[in-house]
């Protein structure tokens, strides 16, 4: 059982307060969607949760241990982080790109320990990349690259997975496919945190929702409790209709 807890997170960029006193907790087996308008502080919150950005105030603990006290490589073995629109800087093969997700398990010199060599093939298979394994990563389509990057993120079998906007730039089929994979990872016991704009997708996969507005916690809790007309309407400053049919919410904005 893994628990990543954020308490009273406040972060400023220059004079602007990006996050103000945000609390959140992410647990094994649960998928938490972070939602909110552009500029609400979703990406900043995710980077702070990943331990990559030090907040001006607040605590981040992973299993009751301050995240700052965990050595970077040890942390990398436990949590994986995927930023928004990741791209490959060099035309390395897809297989190599995915294997980079095991960097934290590499010794300073010498090859990868045996237990991890099979992990790459497993991740390639899981994300339907076997046919693309020798393709240079810079020549993948948007959907293929997104899959390869997700495979990169999960190849090290993280206990916490933090993904920023995995569906950005993906067509509906690939967006749903990515969402399905994230849901499957949570079902396998991973604590998954994902920033999403597509609320239909959120209602399809999320257990919990954290809604941010102007750097403050607007609402948080189980998905069905947050994805309601009054909460979403206030969150996006827009009229919204939520239809629940078959246990799944469908969200429509506008009159």
């Amino acid at each position: 059982m893994t628990r990543l807890a954020l308490g009273g997170i406040t972060h400023r960029r220059g004079a602007r307060t990006v996050l103000a006193g945000v609390d959140a907790a992410f647990e094994s087996g649960r998928l938490t969607a972070v939602i909110g308008p552009n500029g609400a502080g979703k990406s900043t919150l995710l980077a702070i949760a990943a331990g990559l950005l030090r907040p001006d105030a607040g605590t981040i603990t992973l299993d009751e241990r301050a995240i700052r006290a965990i050595p970077p490589r040890e942390l990398a073995a436990v949590r994986a982080y995927l930023p928004q629109s990741p791209r490959a800087e060099w035309p390395v093969r897809v297989e190599r790109l995915v294997a980079l997700g095991l960097s934290q398990h590499l010794p300073v010199f010498g090859p990868l320990p045996g237990r991890w060599r099979l992990a790459v093939s497993g991740a390639l298979a899981r994300f339907d990349l076997i046919a693309l394994r020798d393709r240079p990563a810079t020549r993948l389509s948007g959907g293929e690259l997104a899959r390869a990057m997700l495979a990169r993120a999960v190849v090290g079998e993280p206990r916490v997975l933090i993904v920023d906007e995995p569906s950005a730039g993906l067509d509906p089929r690939h967006a749903h496919e990515a969402a399905r994979q994230l849901r499957a990872l949570a079902d396998d016991g991973c604590a998954v945190v994902v920033a999403l704009h597509d609320l239909d997708l959120v209602s399809r996969i999320a257990d919990d929702v954290v809604a941010l507005k102007d750097g403050r916690l607007h609402a948080s809790g189980p998905a069905e409790a947050v994805l309601t007309e009054p909460t979403l309407g206030a969150l996006y400053d827009m009229p919204v209709r939520v239809d629940r049919a078959g246990g799944r919410a469908s969200v429509r904005f506008g009159d």
């Binding site: 980077a47 990943a50 990559l52 050595p71 970077p72 490589r73 040890e74 942390l75 990398a76 073995a77 949590r79 994986a80 982080y81 995927l82 930023p83 990741p86 791209r87 490959a88 800087e89 060099w90 035309p91 390395v92 093969r93 190599r96 790109l97 980079l100 997700g101 960097s103 934290q104 590499l106 300073v108 240079p136 810079t138 020549r139 990057m149 990169r152």
Partner: protein
């Protein structure tokens, strides 16, 4: 195929090294070279090989290797195929140091004054670049390096402008062209420790550079300390390229081209490209030096000039080809 890259490059270097010992104003036959090396009795051939051609050979290998290595590290670190070792200010700092030594006449009074001043100049220039960029990221490091380079170049121009006599100006210009002629074991002894230190620091960046294929954020999430990586690259380049420039003068293009040639050989992995880039750099400088020797003392073709004349069109071709290959 990839397993053969390093052995094949080593073989090429050995062949070039042999050619380098044979070539010169006086051509020696392989038998003469072998006999002179095997026979401890002092002879003209032995003197020529041990005191003139061998230090020159060793120096060209060291200089070429560190230029190729530093170029590969900086291109990987900055994720920019146009990065080269001079970017952080090491080369122009060294040039300014050497020019100061020549300008104020230290060079005339002490034989190694020029390389020592150049080495100090390189370290000071990179030190300033680092101090300016300490709080910022990679981009501020590039900007600081460019700023320091520009300042140092301005200093060189100023020295040329104010040169007391045409001879001083000529000497400065000659040094700036880069050459391996008339270098001795003293130069090797001066440069070797710094180049070895630089190469060691740069070699430790390999794993981090591989992770940087995913960008800085993802590399950090994988446990790579990007600011430590930047520091390793910076100090390694300052020591290694500073020392190389100090003993040969400014030799451009090698650090730019060698990584481009190395990357396709290793599937474009920036970390794996370090060793082949170093070997290719060594081979390039050695080949260019042999070519200047074949051109003969009458022509007195300078190493830096030859590399630039051949390197620039080659680089142009490379850029056009990359544009076709890249998406």
């Amino acid at each position: 195929m990839r397993r053969l890259v390093l052995p094949l490059l080593t073989l090429a270097i050995l062949a070039l090294a042999a050619a380098s010992l044979l070539a010169g104003p006086v051509w020696l036959s392989p038998a003469t070279v072998a006999a002179a090396l095997a026979d401890p009795q002092p002879s003209l051939a032995r003197l020529l090989i041990v005191e003139v051609r061998l230090p020159r050979l060793v120096l060209s290998l060291m200089v070429g290797a560190i230029l190729g290595l530093a170029g590969a590290v900086l291109q990987g670190l900055l994720r920019n195929p146009l990065a080269e070792p001079g970017l952080l200010g090491a080369s122009s700092g060294a040039s300014l140091g050497a020019v100061i030594a020549i300008y104020y006449g230290f060079a005339a009074s002490a034989g190694l004054a020029t390389p020592i001043f150049a080495l100090v100049g390189a370290l000071v220039a990179v030190g300033i670049a680092f101090a300016l960029s300490r709080t910022g990221g990679t981009l501020s490091l590039i900007l600081a390096g460019v700023a320091v380079s520009t300042l140092a170049s301005a200093g060189v121009s100023l020295a040329l402008n104010l040169a007391p006599n045409p001879f001083a100006a000529y000497e400065i210009v000659t040094w700036l062209m880069g050459s391996l002629a008339d270098r001795s074991w003293d130069h090797v002894t001066l440069a070797a420790p710094f180049i070895a230190l630089g190469a060691t620091l740069l070699a430790f960046t390999a794993r981090g550079l591989d992770a940087l294929t995913l960008g800085e954020r993802q590399a950090e999430s994988l446990g790579v300390d990007v600011s430590r990586l930047r520091l390793l690259a910076l100090i390694g380049t300052a020591a290694g390229v500073g020392a190389a420039t100090a003993v040969t003068g400014a030799v451009g293009f090698v650090g730019l081209i060698a990584p481009h040639l190395a990357r396709p050989l290793v599937g474009h992995r920036p970390g794996a490209a370090l060793a082949p880039a170093a070997l290719i750099g060594a081979a390039l400088v050695l080949a260019a030096d042999v070519a200047t020797k074949i051109a003969g003392p009458a022509l007195d073709l300078k190493l830096g000039v030859l590399i630039a004349v051949v390197g620039a069109p080659f680089f142009l071709w490379l850029v056009l080809r990359v544009r076709q290959v890249a998406p």
